[in-house]
């Protein structure tokens, strides 16, 4: 059994009388320690996958298994606990609490976990040793995203979910952030799922899952992922 399994997952949103099929039966797996890239155009269902995998939304039908647990059967409370202890989330727009310093943002996540990593070490690891006391507004976009990654990592999650982590960053900064994620995956053995519409990023993953019209159109295993430095887009 794989670490993550999506078995015929359907998600239908009801807007009044209109039913919108966001996910029409997605099937894929991700192994532990893998760096998976979920790629596809806007509206293909990437975000829905992320929402379901991240425990932010519930399936209409189908089965999601993470580390042997059936997420689709979780109650709201169990989902919260799942997000709390198992998931690290990196947002496109960083979503840092503006009123907290870099360190405090990390602490905000770490304080609710069972086995958080050392906060300062985590921040040092993302290369922000000297910016701990700064507020988000005093940091660049790349730095903010590093804080967000540190925040996700400090929770010591089983799974790191990244939603367009470079979407709001310039090329160079984006690369640095991706590199950080790749290194995290390799060094710490954390399973990483990155969602992107940028197909150029696909070579960096162990596994590339392509989504189209609410279905997984193609799954590609990449035994030799390319280091991010070598990828150009």
């Amino acid at each position: 059994m794989s670490y993550i399994e999506f078995n015929n997952v359907k998600k239908i949103y009801k807007m009044g009388d209109v039913k919108i099929k966001a996910l029409a039966g997605a099937n894929f797996t991700v192994e532990k320690g893998e760096f998976a890239v979920i790629a596809g155009p806007s509206g293909a269902g990437k975000s829905t996958i992320l929402n379901l995998l991240g425990g932010m939304d519930t399936v209409t039908t189908g089965e999601i298994i993470v580390d042997g647990q059936h997420i689709n059967e979780f109650s709201q409370k169990q989902l919260t606990a799942y997000r709390r202890y198992d998931i690290g989330f990196v947002f496109q727009f960083y979503n840092l609490v503006q009123n907290l310093t870099a360190r405090e943002n990390v602490e905000l996540a770490a304080q609710i976990c069972k086995n958080p990593l050392d906060i300062d070490e985590t921040i040092d690891a993302v290369g922000l040793k000297d910016r701990k006391g700064n507020f988000p507004a005093q940091l660049s976009g790349g730095e903010q995203q590093r804080v967000a990654i540190a925040r996700a990592l400090a929770k010591n999650p089983k799974l790191l979910l990244c939603d367009e982590p470079t979407g709001a960053l310039d090329y160079q900064t984006g690369k640095a952030v991706l590199k950080l994620l790749q290194e995290t995956c390799i060094k710490r053995g954390v399973t990483v799922v990155v969602i992107t519409h940028n197909l150029a990023l696909t070579p960096m993953g162990n596994k590339v899952i392509r989504v189209k019209n609410g279905m997984v159109s193609n799954i590609e295993i990449n035994d030799n992922p390319v280091p991010i430095d070598e990828i150009e887009w």
Partner: protein, 903 residues
């Protein structure tokens, strides 16, 4: 402005109905309260005016110690301006109800034509039950709560005079069957007044047919004035109009009184003539008999009548001239003198302003008005602040849209129009609804509350067009102005800037962080809370002001209640220690009292009324002047301490009367703007106006007094101190005991009047029970305001931070943790706001107490500690309720919000 902008606005209202409703509600509450409470005073006056008009309350009341004859009545009736006239009788008598003696005021209704359109049926009775008296031996009783169980229709009331005269001198019969229960416009207040029979205060009032009276003269005349009904009875025009007629009656009085004096003189003169003529006749008879006898002896057997006849007259004349009529003449001269001197040869023409019931109700309405000025202003201020926050938030949220409109080429005005229109529609509909509801609801409640101590018919709403317009327009203007202010900043930016997200508000270190020893001790969440609170200073301030405002209003409401209750407690349990004061003359009464075992002790003092001013002459317009201040001159200052406690308010300092100056009561000192060490001018008993030095200002609530020692009085005025009043402390101050004592003493010839304080306490307690209800209305409204303010501000707070909240949800915060993340701030702000509100409330309360103060009543500003607790706890409870309501909203915030781009 494009059609689409209007369309957009209406869609906006539909989509953000919560926000729209919040503004609508806050304006509605604000306007309802402002208009409603302000209108109450006017509605009270208008209702009473209608009542007075409908029930034909007298415009003028004419009294005379010598009574009125039918000619007098005709003269008044023929005076220009007099419309209706009712010549009547009034006496005070006593009766026993359930074994206790009560004083009854006996008034009359006309003997016939008791119809609504009879202009001469003045002070028409409003029948509650039964019917009006139709013949001798029937009466109706004026409704009063106290007696409603004790006297019912069918009961018979037996009257006695209450003094040594016989009731049958005044009334043809002393037994009256109650045939109805009525209200009278003549006495709308609970209190009827003082009397010189019975225990000194009138218990209730009955009306009998006028022909039940056996008196020769009418004792009282009621009159109405032509055209007076059309005027507002509280207006100057009304009093001007009535005043003209009043003067004409006073002119007529002179003529009539001259005629009356003349007729009294004539009566006595003709009596004198008659007596003297009788004497003359006796002399003549005597002379005739004597002569007859003498002549008969000379001429026996002959009829001498014709012989003596020519001689009689000269002898009679001689005898008459020798008669000494001085004694008789003196007797008549004295009688004449007495009749003229002792009679009070004057007509007192009194208008409604001299009528206690009328004045009392008016002053209650005015007091209501004073409250109405302060409270609603506060309401409007808070409402405006909250709307400003809400609209600022709305404009912020719609940055992108503003940018789009701008990019499309819409002008600033057109864009601003959307927001202005939005807030205008919300506030004007709220304002109109507020007016409709408020103008009915608040006056009705407040009117009913006052009706606990007044007997008024159902409320008559006055026209409040102007008030409505002022209330609505002022709030709408404030809110639209707030909206424009909120738009101006955003509109100044260029479209491209607007379409980019607003750079998030920078986090920064707060002041607290520099105080290491506190900051370090705060938990992580404590730090987060502290920083969040101070992040948006403007909003923080507004929330605090909003909560503080509501809390202050509630506190003031509780405080008003406390202060008034404290007044009774302090005045009658702490300051005034004596139970009764007896005005007397002569030397016997003090001895009687001293030997009366029912008196624990008693002290004689001199009490008289004087004007008091801080200028040497009375007519110095620049200076303050007060009339009818009671001066108490005390011989034994040591003993006086047991009767009246002279102390400085809020301290334990007890002052003692000394021979160097006077003690002046606090309210009086305030009115005259004087303090200890200053000089005021008072008039001595003999009329000299002299300066006196103020030694101390003392606490006193229900009267204005000046206290001084007899030694000081004598040294200032150079006249002897003469006691005229006894202060007594009773062994048993129960009502029964007081009635008993009152009954006995008022029969004594040296007693001029008595006042028992138990009656005063009851009167005040009554007034307070009604004020309590008014206070509850205020507290409830303040509570509603606090609630809406908190709801609105929390709502803004949450919607502003939706992204942050969604993020922490994604981070795995449980619902309760998310809630506490937000609520810790709310609670902290509520605590700060409530604390500030209590401080603000103390000042607001003081201001209100000062405003509603009436003549001779100082409310003070004592507040129970519990009221602080109540106001604080209630605010916190509202805060909690709002938080609970918000909990649902928090729970429903979709986590997907965290993924969206910054708006």
């Amino acid at each position: 402005m494009g059609k689409m902008v209007v369309k957009d606005t209406f869609r906006e209202i539909k989509n953000s109905f919560g926000r729209f409703f919040a503004i609508f509600a806050i304006v509605a509450i604000g306007v309802a309260f402002f208009a409603g409470v302000t209108a109450s005073s006017e509605d009270m006056k208008h209702s009473s005016d209608c009542y007075y008009d409908e029930y034909n309350l007298m415009d003028l009341r004419i009294l005379s110690g010598v009574g009125f004859t039918d000619e007098d009545i005709d003269a008044i009736r023929n005076t220009e301006g007099v419309e209706g006239l009712f010549a009547t009788h009034t006496i005070d008598a006593v009766t026993k109800i359930d074994g206790t003696q009560s004083t009854v005021r006996v008034m009359t209704v006309p003997d016939d034509n008791l119809t609504d359109d009879n202009k001469d049926y003045i002070n028409r009775l409003r029948i509650k039950e039964g019917r009006l008296p139709e013949k001798e031996g029937e009466c109706v009783i004026r409704y009063s709560e106290f007696y409603q169980e004790k006297i019912e229709i069918g009961d018979v009331i037996t009257l006695s005079s209450g003094n040594d005269s016989d009731i049958s001198d005044s009334l043809k019969t002393d037994e009256y069957e109650v045939v109805g229960i009525v209200y009278t416009p003549y006495y709308v207040s609970y209190d009827i007044g003082q009397s010189n029979v019975g225990n000194g205060s009138v218990g209730f009032c009955i009306m009998v047919t006028d022909s039940s009276f056996a008196q020769e003269y009418y004792t009282e005349v009621f009159a109405t004035v032509e055209g007076a009904k059309e005027l507002d009875t509280y207006s100057d025009e009304y009093f001007d109009l009535v005043g003209e007629t009043k003067e004409r009656i006073e002119d007529a009085a002179e003529e009539r009184l001259d005629a009356r004096v003349q007729s009294v003189k004539d009566d006595i003169e003709s009596e004198r003539r008659k007596t003297i003529d009788e004497i003359y006749e006796n002399v003549r008879t005597e002379v005739r008999e004597q002569l007859y006898e003498q002549y008969s002896m000379y001429y026996p057997g002959i009829d001498v009548s014709s012989m003596i006849e020519p001689q009689i007259e000269s002898i009679v004349q001689e005898n008459i001239n020798n008669l000494d009529l001085t004694e008789i003449n003196e007797q008549f001269d004295r009688a004449e003198e007495e009749a003229i001197e002792n009679g009070d040869w004057q007509w007192y023409v009194l208008d409604r302003n001299s009528h206690y019931s009328f004045r009392d109700y008016e002053s209650s309405a005015d007091r209501m008005n004073a409250i109405a000025v302060v409270f609603p202003m506060f309401f409007i201020l808070v409402a405006a602040l909250v709307c400003l926050t809400t609209m600022t938030r709305m404009v912020d949220e719609q940055r992108g849209l503003i940018g789009t409109y701008k990019a499309l080429g819409y002008g600033k005005t057109a864009i601003a129009m959307k927001f202005v229109l939005y807030s205008f529609i919300a506030s004007i509909t709220g304002g109109i609804l507020g007016c409709i509801v408020g103008l009915r609801l608040f006056p009705a409640i407040i009117y009913d509350c006052w009706n606990i101590i007044y007997y008024m018919p159902a409320i008559q709403y006055a026209d409040h067009w102007l008030l409505s317009i002022i209330a609505i327009v002022s709030l709408v203007l404030v809110i639209v102005a707030a909206t424009v202010a909120a738009c101006v900043n955003e509109l100044a930016e260029v479209p491209s800037q607007l379409m980019r997200p607003k750079s998030p508000k920078k986090g920064k270190k707060i002041f607290l962080e520099h105080i290491g020893f506190i900051w370090k001790r705060l938990s992580f969440s404590g730090k987060v809370t502290a920083r969040n609170i101070f992040r948006y200073k403007k909003r923080f301030l507004m929330t605090v002001v909003g909560i503080a405002g509501g809390c202050a209003l509630m506190f003031a409401g509780f405080g008003i209640k406390d202060s008034i209750s404290a007044l009774i407690e302090k005045q009658y349990n702490e300051i005034i220690q004596y139970d009764v004061s007896i005005k007397y003359e002569g030397d016997e009464i003090p001895e009687t009292v001293n030997s009366d075992s029912r008196f624990e002790k008693a002290l004689t003092i001199c009490e008289y009324t004087s004007d008091v001013g801080n200028a040497e002459t009375i007519d110095d317009a620049d200076k303050q002047q007060r009339e009818d201040v009671s001066i108490e001159v005390v011989e034994d200052a040591q003993a006086f301490k047991d009767y009246v406690l002279l102390r400085k308010r809020n301290t334990d300092t007890i002052h003692e009367l000394d021979d160097e100056g006077v003690c002046i009561t606090e309210q009086l000192a305030g009115d005259l703007n004087v303090k200890a060490g200053d000089t005021v001018y008072i008039t001595g008993e003999s009329g000299q106006r002299k300066p006196v030095r103020i030694s101390h200002v003392v606490e006193m609530y229900t009267s204005s007094n000046i206290f001084m020692t007899s030694e000081y009085y004598e040294s200032v005025f150079g006249e002897d101190y003469e006691p005229n009043c006894i202060l007594g402390i009773l062994v048993d101050s129960s009502e029964a005991s007081e009635n008993q004592i009152g009954e006995e003493y008022l029969l004594m010839s040296g007693v001029r009047g008595m006042t028992f304080f138990t009656a005063n306490i009851e009167k005040f307690n009554n007034m307070i029970s009604s004020l309590n209800l008014v206070t509850y209305v205020l507290i409830l409204s303040a509570a509603a305001l606090t609630f809406v303010v908190l709801y609105n501000l929390t709502n803004v707070n949450v919607s502003e931070r939706i992204r942050e909240i969604a993020t922490i949800k994604v981070l795995g915060f449980f619902d309760a943790e998310v809630a506490s993340y937000v609520y810790r701030e709310n609670v902290a702000i509520s605590v700060i706001g409530s604390a500030a509100g209590l401080v603000l409330g103390v000042f607001l309360h003081r201001y209100i107490m000062k405003t509603v103060e009436m003549d001779n009543v100082m409310f003070g500003n004592a507040v129970e500690q519990l009221s602080f607790v109540y106001a604080f706890v209630l605010t916190m409870v509202f805060s909690l309720i709002v938080n609970l309501v918000m909990y649902r909203k928090l729970k429903n915030i979709p986590m997907v919000e965290s993924l969206k781009s910054v708006e």
